[in-house]
């Protein structure tokens, strides 16, 4: 399956290579570099590239290309999904997945890659199992290791590998038993010029942080499970129970994991929590453009809209922008033409606005398209779909755990066309 892996940084250098079968010369990446040159943006490099003897499948995360070399037919998603899993694992181990972090931990990276694939076929990708095999480097452990000479590598087969619940390790012990669930919903929307919604949908996830002793068996039920239209589960969730009773029943993995992601059926009307009043004009013949943007809350059920960030890719003809924000700060990058405005919290009494002029290249014709505006925001303590957890119960263990549930709504891909 996966023959080799090359990590390529933004400037096009291969800084790590790993081969699971015989060695493939790194010159195979030349085909990749060619495609990279052709692409105008880093994102435009095609994920699958054929070469005379190999196929290159790549993903781009954190400005690093993970290029896998394939020799024969394999479902491309298989490789892509695996590469993303590798990135997630690195992030989990090192906190960040940057070139520097990988170079600093090259031995752990190698050990991880060695465990994750055998002969190019995934062997252990579950984070709980990997952590038993190779302990994540922490400052404390590094110090202890240098003094005592002990290692980061486990000697035993992780218990999870053999059990029916491979995601959970055995012998978990905590003094404080806690289970936290975060219901996070994202609104994807396209709003057109006149302010009417072209498309809007809600995608939600429930992320959990479970620190419970032993082998707890949890059930989570919702007040309104019918809202959930299309769900995908962590493997721990018993599917049949969900089908029959709409109850999530599971033995949780230890630590952080994504329990569930869901889609709220598009039949339901989606409440759009913010509105944008905009007036962006370019006049023919003059080298000036007007920029006027006001944000306001709408359908927020009394909750505050926070961490608002507005960004927009202005037309190529714009040389500079001279704007005046009523709150927050704005930046304009004259090279990428990216305007971003960090608004902060929206105060309904005093709506934030950004007004001013843009200077255009002299003599250039008026841009045909007005820019689209991307908005990010957060609303705490509310799930916009109205989803509510009814109760969380634990079976199989005697102690009383501390339980917590948090709701949050965020903007996903929220775009306003102007």
């Amino acid at each position: 399956m996966i023959h080799s892996l090359f990590l390529v940084n933004a400037s096009g250098d291969i800084f790590l290579e790993k081969h699971w079968k015989s060695v493939v010369s790194r010159s195979v990446c030349d085909y990749f570099f060619e495609a990279q040159e052709r692409a105008t943006e880093p994102e435009n490099v095609p994920p699958v590239i054929p070469t005379p003897h190999h196929y290159l499948i790549s993903v781009l995360r954190h400005r690093i290309y993970f290029v896998a070399v394939i020799q024969s037919e394999v479902p491309p998603l298989f490789v892509i999904e695996f590469l993303h899993r590798v990135v997630d694992t690195f992030q989990d181990y090192f906190g960040v997945c940057t070139e520097a972090a990988i170079k600093d931990n090259v031995v752990v990276v190698y050990e991880l890659l060695e465990e994750m694939l055998d002969n190019g076929f995934p062997l252990a990708t579950e984070s709980n199992i990997l952590k038993e095999l190779i302990k994540p480097p922490t400052i404390l452990r590094t110090m202890v290791n240098t003094i005592t000479g002990s290692t980061n590598v486990g000697e035993q087969l992780p218990t999870g590998q053999l059990s029916v619940v491979p995601w959970r390790r055995t012998g978990v012990k905590y003094t404080n038993n806690e289970a936290y669930f975060d219901v996070v919903e994202e609104i994807d929307a396209i709003i057109d010029k006149s302010g009417s919604t072209i498309t809007a949908e809600i995608q939600g996830v429930i992320d959990a942080c479970v620190k419970l002793t032993g082998m707890p068996d949890l059930t989570l039920s919702f007040m309104n499970p019918r809202l959930l239209d299309d769900v995908s589960f962590h493997p721990c969730v018993r599917f049949k129970r969900w089908e029959a009773e709409r109850i999530l029943s599971f033995i949780p993995p230890d630590g952080n994991f994504r329990l569930l992601s869901y889609h709220v059926s598009s039949q339901n009307l989606v409440a759009i929590p913010v509105y944008v009043k905009h007036n962006i004009t370019f006049r023919e013949g003059s080298s000036q453009g007007r920029f006027d943007l006001t944000l306001g809350p709408k359908q927020t059920m009394g909750k505050a809209v926070e961490s608002v960030l507005v960004s927009s890719q202005l037309p190529r003809g714009v040389l500079n922008a001279n704007l005046n924000p009523s709150q927050g700060t704005y930046t304009f990058d004259p090279v990428t033409k990216m305007l971003s405005w960090d608004v902060g919290k929206i105060n309904p009494q005093k709506l934030p606005s950004l007004k001013g002029t843009m200077s255009l290249q002299a003599g250039a014709s008026k841009p045909d398209e007005n820019p689209t505006i991307n908005i990010q925001f957060k609303i705490q303590q509310m799930a916009i779909s109205g989803l509510k957890v009814n109760r969380l119960d634990m079976y199989g263990e005697k102690y009383k755990p501390f339980k917590g549930i948090k709701y949050m709504t965020k903007a996903g891909k929220f775009q306003v066309r102007t």
Binding site: V107, E114, Q161, L162, T170, P367
Partner: protein, 982 residues
């Protein structure tokens, strides 16, 4: 720690050199290259020193640096001898790093690599399954052809290992060996066949992967395992699921008939009903229904459906393609939602999924139409994502939604991403040809775009308009005139060529303008692009034929220019045109047809999706994604007209099933649907008990050690209660987990003893009125209670009528603690069943008497264990052995000098003889003439230590140290006898 930082410790000079290597390109001046070379040399010297030092920490540090070098792609092969010495290191991390090095360089240093082989061979026998597995992993990754036989042996052994993890590793090793030496194929297929029978979810994915790699055409190996694979699928790890699903897709296409017939009857309930019982299956066939889905086909569809909810995008995609290729047409749409969900994932995932949706949406618009808005383009999407979304939107366009789509397209045309805007124009063109209602609207819209400022947009519009006009035979001279006006401002060659072609083609509709355009072209001919020149020549020729009065001179001028053009295509075309339109004496034959040749009505181009022909590839594959047949792509066969024999998939129903499902004629019990682990296990258990039955009977007859060890694994699962309700299902899950854990713990203390199993008679069929019973000691830890001895009883019905309700009745002494087997409801004539029971003998050889009852009769039987069976092996080091032996002296020591048969003096023979008598473990010994064995009594756990000291001329001193002196003397007697026998 970065290597750079490490070098700092070595002194400043090296840091400088290191910096030099970083910056110096490989093809630089010789001086730099020399410097680089010497630096490598020096650096490695220092690493070599560290590797050969006595300090573990130095070695580890050095290895870390070496791995750093490998990761950077630098050559570290000269260190091979120094590194390979550390292969047997005790430090696990060091060992692992050495493995990494070895796998990387073994191919280049084959002779030296051989030095490490013995270490792995030893590790393959290690009691720790993890070490066995990693030894096999590394051994099989060393690509040295000489060790192929060793690898083969190791794979075969590992395939029969107790630990499913080791068996999984062996499945991986199969592929490695195959790629190293394809001649081993036949033998490897045998191993694959064996591993395919494995019931462990851990093994399933890997062995199917091996199957796909080594022998994807041996479909016959799958038959018997088909149902098992379907049932296990949900519990297999996600990567295995992908592989199994794609293999099963291919399998199903060869084995089942097409569900896509027009008159097919799709009644889900009906099918379910006859799936549940085999007897009705035949009824179904005799009924005159036109198409009935094979129950196995349905099984596959049913068992893959829940996987659409997987978090792994590859799994979801593979289920989607399975439904696309196998499910009845009306069922395919259940995958839509899940595929649309994947669009929320990473960019690369979106790319692949959109490609597949594009192919699907050509054939089945209805599937994705309700989700049309999910394909709306966002300005932040990458260009290839945008074009794919556009493609899908175009495929989905119909009379009802076209106005919405066109409105959306209008926004896209204005996009700053000009490549995308051009693609949108093409899409508009396609919508216009496909949906006749909007053709005029589209055409008008495109004409408006002609005055766009951006050149690419205008050019693309011209090209599309040209195609549209061609499909529209109606009058459009206005548009053509408009384009002629724009002609001067358009510089993109393709657009200019298109306009010229239009002029020529429809020159009769624009009689005044066309010659004028030609006049302008004659002026600029020499500076035009080739493609424009060719069209100019064409235009000239066409005008000459229709309007020779005005254009004769112009045409001749252009033809003369063309005659001396640099490009030979243009010279060639000019010559051809001249001969065709200007007749001369020699070659006027075609002249009279010139008009018909040049001005023939041309068929309109069909504007088609680029994904039109992609459906020749299986969805979700690399080949589909690239639209090229990739190496190793397995063609999906067409449905067979007549289904091959479906009975090949029947697994022989071995009687033990009844132990768990006592009612005849009902294969499966009604189960509560709400637990998804438990019922998966139920099915597993049913199969497991089948296999253990067959394995054990084979082991008793052929005494193959491998199958009995496999049996051990499955037997662990037997006690899981099947008739469970909600609470016990969980219990059984825990039990199962615990058992597995206990198994893994167990396998670390047990050295597998490869001795033939002796079978004893319990009840002769003459005295048992047809019921015969035999028993043997499987020498496995008893599951029911740890202080019981496991006994397996094989019950055979030798009579001509079926026996009912076989169970265990009264026992004596009454206090005797027996774990009975479940009542066997019915045993057919000639059938046999293996059941497990546990007996607590309390460390005495006193017989356990009990009654074996059928519905009508009761037979008193007794099991008398040999003293050696009351033990279980215990693993200890020689040191521990001697220490424990020192504690058991005096009264606790029994010894005798014995005479041994000469054949028995080799250590192998001694082990064999001894292990056949007593279930003890071998303690590795440093002295050649002393053999040590250790065990514990099953019931009380008292230590039993046996040592055998060889003296000269085949005499030996046999010593047994244990608290149980009676057992000691009995054991001594048994051993003496066994060792004296040849």
């Amino acid at each position: 720690m970065s290597t750079g930082a490490l070098y700092n410790d070595q002194g400043g000079a090296e840091t400088a050199v290191e910096a030099g290597t970083e910056s110096a390109p490989t093809s630089s001046s010789t001086g730099a290259a020399f410097g680089l070379f010497s630096a490598d040399f020096k650096k490695n010297e220092d690493l070599k020193e560290m590797l050969e030092s006595n300090k573990e920490s130095h070695k580890l540090e050095a290895m870390k640096r070496v791995v750093g070098l490998i990761a950077k792609g630098k050559n570290a092969s000269e260190l091979f001898p120094a590194v390979v010495k550390n292969v047997a290191s005790k430090n696990i991390e060091l060992k692992k790093l050495v493995y990494v090095y070895l796998v990387r360089y073994a191919e280049e240093q084959q002779d030296l690599a051989l030095l490490s082989i013995s270490t792995f061979q030893r590790a393959l026998k290690d009691p720790n399954q993890f070490i066995r597995a990693s030894a096999l992993r590394v051994l099989s990754s060393i690509r040295v052809p000489i060790i192929v036989p060793i690898m083969m042996l190791a794979i075969k052994e590992a395939a029969a290992d107790l630990s499913p993890y080791v068996r999984k590793t062996s499945a991986h090793a199969i592929q490695k060996l195959y790629s190293l030496d394809a001649d081993q194929k036949e033998q490897l297929i045998e191993v694959i066949e064996k591993l395919l029978k494995d019931k462990s979810t851990l093994v399933a994915g890997s062995v199917v992967m091996a199957f796909e790699e080594v022998c994807p055409d041996r479909i016959d190996l799958i038959h018997k395992n088909y149902r098992k694979l379907c049932n296990l699928l949900v519990d297999v790890e996600e990567w295995g699921q992908v592989v199994i699903i794609s293999m099963l897709t291919r399998y199903a296409r060869t084995q089942f008939t097409s569900p896509w017939k027009e008159d097919a009857v799709f009644d889900e309930n009906n099918e379910k009903a006859f799936y549940d019982s085999d007897s009705e299956e035949k009824k179904g066939q005799t009924e005159s229904k036109p198409y009935i889905m094979d129950p196995d086909h349905r099984l596959l569809l049913r068992n893959t459906k829940p996987l659409l909810q997987s978090r792994n995008t590859a799994v979801v995609m593979s289920v989607a393609q399975l439904y696309w290729h196998l499910a009845p047409k009306h069922e395919v749409s259940i995958v839509t939602k899940s595929l649309v969900r994947l669009l929320r994932s990473h960019r690369e995932v979106q790319y692949i999924v959109l490609q597949n949706i594009a192919t699907m949406s050509i054939q089945r618009k209805g599937m994705f139409e309700p989700f049309m808005k999910s394909f709306y383009v966002r300005s932040t999407d990458a260009t290839h994502i945008k074009t794919l979304k556009l493609e899908i939107l175009t495929n989905l366009a119909n009379e009802a939604n076209i106005s919405t789509i066109l409105r959306e397209f209008q926004t896209y045309v204005k996009s700053q991403d000009k490549a995308f805007a051009a693609a949108t124009i093409q899409a508009i063109g396609r919508c216009a040809t496909n949906i006749s209602e909007v053709t005029d609207t589209c055409l008008n819209g495109l004409v408006l775009l002609l005055s766009n400022r951006d050149e690419t947009v205008v050019a693309e519009s011209v090209v599309v308009i040209k195609k549209l006009l061609q499909t529209q035979p109606t009058q459009h001279s206005e548009i053509i005139k408009h384009m002629a006006k724009l002609f001067d401002n358009i510089t993109v060659p393709m657009a200019r060529a298109s306009i010229l072609w239009l002029m020529g083609e429809y020159c009769e509709r624009v009689p005044k303008i066309a010659p004028d355009v030609l006049r302008k072209m004659a002026k600029t001919f020499t500076t035009e692009e080739d493609i424009v020149k060719l069209q100019t020549v064409n235009l000239a020729a066409k005008l000459y034929l229709t309007n020779s009065k005005q254009t004769k001179l112009l045409t001749q001028y252009i033809l003369n220019l063309g005659k001396y053009d640099q490009n030979y295509d243009i010279r060639d075309r000019t010559r051809f045109i001249r001969q065709l339109i200007v007749p001369n004496e020699k070659s006027g034959a075609l002249n009279k047809y010139a008009r018909r040749i040049l001005l023939a009505p041309k068929p309109a181009p069909v504007l088609e999706s680029a994904f039109k022909d992609r459906d020749r590839f299986q969805l979700g594959t690399l080949s589909h994604s690239l639209n090229i047949k990739a190496t190793g792509y397995q063609e999906l066969s067409d449905w067979p007209a007549v289904a091959p024999d479906q009975s090949v998939r029947n697994v022989e129903v071995i009687e033990p099933v009844k132990e768990w499902a006592p009612l005849v004629g009902k294969a499966k019990q009604p189960k509560s649907d709400d637990k998804f682990y438990s019922d998966e296990e139920e099915e597993k258990d049913e199969e497991e008990s089948e296999s253990s039955g067959s394995d054990d009977s084979s082991s008793s007859s052929s005494s193959s050690s491998s199958s009995s060890s496999e049996g051990l694994f499955y037997d662990f699962m037997l006690p899981c209660e099947l008739h469970d309700t909600d609470s016990t299902s969980l219990l059984s899950l825990y039990l199962f987990i615990n058992l597995l854990l206990c198994l893994s713990a167990q396998s670390q203390v047990t050295t597998p003893s490869f001795s033939p199993v002796k079978t004893y008679e319990l009840l002769h069929h003459m005295s048992g009125k047809g019921l015969a019973a035999k028993y043997h000691f499987p020498r496995q830890p008893c599951l029911y209670q740890p202080n019981m001895v496991a006994v397996q009883v094989i019950l055979t019905n030798c009579s001509d009528h079926s026996l009912e309700e076989i169970h265990i009745g009264d026992r004596s002494p009454a206090s005797l603690n027996i774990h009975c087997f479940n009542t066997i409801e019915r045993l057919e004539p000639e059938a046999s069943v293996t059941v497990s029971m546990g007996i607590d003998f309390s460390d005495s050889t006193q017989a356990a008497n009990f009654q074996l009852c059928t519905k009508t009769d009761q037979f008193s039987v007794s099991i008398q264990p040999a003293v050696g069976e009351l033990l279980m092996p215990s693993s200890m080091t020689e040191e521990e052995f001697c220490k424990d032996q020192g504690k058991l002296l005096g009264m606790n020591e029994t010894s005798a000098t014995i005479t041994m048969a000469t054949a028995n003096t080799s250590s192998l023979a001694i082990n064999k003889q001894l292990l056949s008598v007593a279930n003890v473990g071998v303690v590795s010994s440093s002295q050649n003439n002393i053999h040590r064995f250790a065990g514990r009594t099953v019931s009380s756990g008292a230590l039993v230590l046996v040592s055998l000291e060889l003296r000269e001329s085949s005499t030996a001193l046999l010593t047994i140290n244990t608290e149980k002196s009676i057992m000691a003397s009995m054991l001594l007697r048994d051993l003496k006898q066994a060792l004296a026998m040849a």
